[in-house]
Amino acid sequence: MQVVDQGGDKMVLHVGPQHPGSGHFRIVITLDGDYIIDAKPDPGYVHRGAEKMAEYRTYIQNIPHLERPVIIDATGITLPYVLTAEKILDVEPPERAQYIRMIMAELNRIISHLYWLAIYGIFLGHSTMFMWPMGDRELFIDLAESIGGTRVTFSYVVPGGVRNDIPGGFKERALKTFQYFEKRIKEYEEIFFNNPLMQSRTVGIGILKKQNAVKLGITGPNLRASGINSDTRKDEPYCFYNKIRFDIPVYKEGDSYARCMVRLRELQQSMDIIRQVLDRMKPGPIKHVIRGVMRGEPGEAFVRTEAARGTMFYHIVSNGERFPYRVKISVPSFRNLIGMSHLLVGSRLADMPAIYWSLDYWPVEADK
C-alpha cells in the first residue's frame, strides 16, 4: 500500500498490487476521512494476451492456454470456447459427452465457490472459514481429478466431446461426497453465515440496486443477488440444462450478504444438478472423432455460458484456416469490475474487503 497526501482532508491510497488479499490488481482510492470518495481500478497486472495467442494456435491447441485465466473454474472458461468452436467446425457432440460436460462444469462451480468462500473468510478475519472450505474443496478436486486427470487444469472438454469417460465408481463416490457436504453446508451457515460478526460486516454493506446492476452490466451471482432472475443456464440452455430441473437462487437485497448467500445456495443447487445428470446418463460414445486438421468454415459464431462468476462469452471469427482469425473473450470478472468502483464510492474504508471480495473478482480472469 502506498499513501499520497493530497493536502487538506483528502488522501490517496494505492491498494495493491501487493496487498494481503487477492493480489495482482491495484485500486487507487481517494479518501475523505474514513469515506471513499473515488475508486479507480487499475487492472492489467496479469494481462498475457490470450486473444492474440489464440490467433497463432489451432482450435485444439488453444484449449490449455485459454483455461489458464481462471484455473479455479477451468471448465467454466473452456466449455464456451469449445461450444463456439463446435459451431464453426460444425460438429455435434454425443449425448453422453454433453452430460459429462455438465458434471464437470458444476463440479468446477463448486470448487470455485468454495475457493471464494475460503478467501472471503480470511477477508473478514474468520480463519475457520478459510480452513473448512479449503479442506472440503479438496474432496471436490478429488472427484474432478478422477475425471480430468489433474487437480485444476483439466483441458477436459474438447471439440467433439470430452477427452475420456468418467471412471467406474464415480457415481457412488460423488453421492457420498455430496451427502457429507450437505451436512457441512449447514455447519457453514451456523458458524459463518448466521454469525452476528459476519452479518454486521456484510448486511447492508455495498448495496447494488437492481437498476444499477442492470445498467452497469453486472453479471452472474452478483446480478442475481440484486433481484434479477437471469442465468444463462435457464435463459439460453446449452448442453442439457433444459432437461434438468433446478431453481436459481435470487436475493433482493443486493448487499454483500446477499451475494454470499447466492453462492452458498448455488453450492447446493450444483450438487442437485449433478445428481440428476448422474441419474439420466446412459452409456454411449463420448467423443465425435474429428479426423485430420480441424478447419472451420469461413464465418463466425458467438456463444455464452454460465461460469461460476457469471456469463462467459466467446466470439470466434474464422476464415477457413487452421487457426481462428479472431477470438474475443468477454469474461464476467471484467464486466463486474465496473461495479466495484461504483460500490466502493461512498462506503467506508473498513468495508472495502467485504465489498471487494463479495463481487468474486478474479484479476487473472479479467486481464486475460
Binding site: Q18, G49, A118, M134, V152, V364
Partner: protein, 170 residues
C-alpha cells in the same frame, strides 16, 4: 618487538589453531543455530503474480498444511518476510513492482520460482507481455516446475530450499 622468524612462525601457527578452534567450536554452532532458527519460520510475501496462487492457497489449506514444514501463511507486511514465492507468470507491468517488493525485503531473503511461467515463460512463450523467466530480474534459489505445480511439489521445493538454508553461510 619480535623479530625472530621462528617465533613469528609459532605465532602464526597458534593463531591458525585458535581460528580453527573458534571455527569448530563457536562459529559452527552459531551458524547452525542461526540457520536452524531461520529454517522453520519462513514467512512468504503475499505477492500473487498469476494463477499458481490458487495452488499456493491450497497448499496452505488443511490437507497439505504448509505450516507443518515451517512455512508460515502469507499474511502481514513484507518488511518481516524472508521468502518471495513468485506464483506464476510475471508480466511486463508486474515485473518492476516485483523487483521493488524484492528490494524492500530485509536480508537474508530467498526466492522460489513457482510454475513453468516463472521459470521460463512456460505456456506463454510467445506472448507479447510476459517476462520469459523471472530470474532475469531477481536471483532465484529454487525452481518448482509444473503448470501449476501440485501442492506436494511446492512442499518439496520448500524442503529443498530449507536444505539450502541449512548449508548457507552466515
Amino acid at each position: 618487538m619480535v623479530t625472530d622468524p621462528t617465533l613469528n612462525l609459532l605465532v602464526g601457527k597458534a593463531s591458525d589453531l585458535f581460528a580453527n578452534v573458534i571455527e569448530k567450536n563457536v562459529r559452527e554452532p552459531i551458524r547452525y543455530l542461526i540457520n536452524w532458527g531461520r529454517l522453520y519460520s519462513l514467512w512468504p510475501v503475499h505477492l500473487e503474480t498469476a494463477c499458481c496462487s490458487i495452488e499456493f492457497g491450497a497448499a496452505s489449506g488443511p490437507r497439505h498444511d504448509l505450516e507443518r514444514f515451517g512455512m508460515l501463511e502469507a499474511f502481514g507486511s513484507l518488511r518481516q518476510c524472508d521468502i518471495l514465492v513468485v506464483q506464476g507468470t510475471v508480466t511486463r507491468k508486474m515485473a518492476p513492482r516485483m523487483k521493488w517488493v524484492y528490494e524492500q525485503m530485509p536480508e537474508p531473503k530467498w526466492v522460489i520460482a513457482m510454475g513453468a511461467c516463472a521459470i521460463s515463460g512456460g505456456l506463454y512463450v510467445d506472448s507479447y507481455n510476459v517476462l520469459q523467466g523471472v530470474d532475469k530480474i531477481v536471483p532465484v534459489d529454487v525452481y518448482i516446475p509444473g503448470c501449476p505445480p501440485r501442492p506436494e511439489t511446492l512442499i518439496q521445493g520448500i524442503i529443498e530450499l530449507q536444505n539450502k538454508i541449512r548449508k548457507s553461510k552466515v
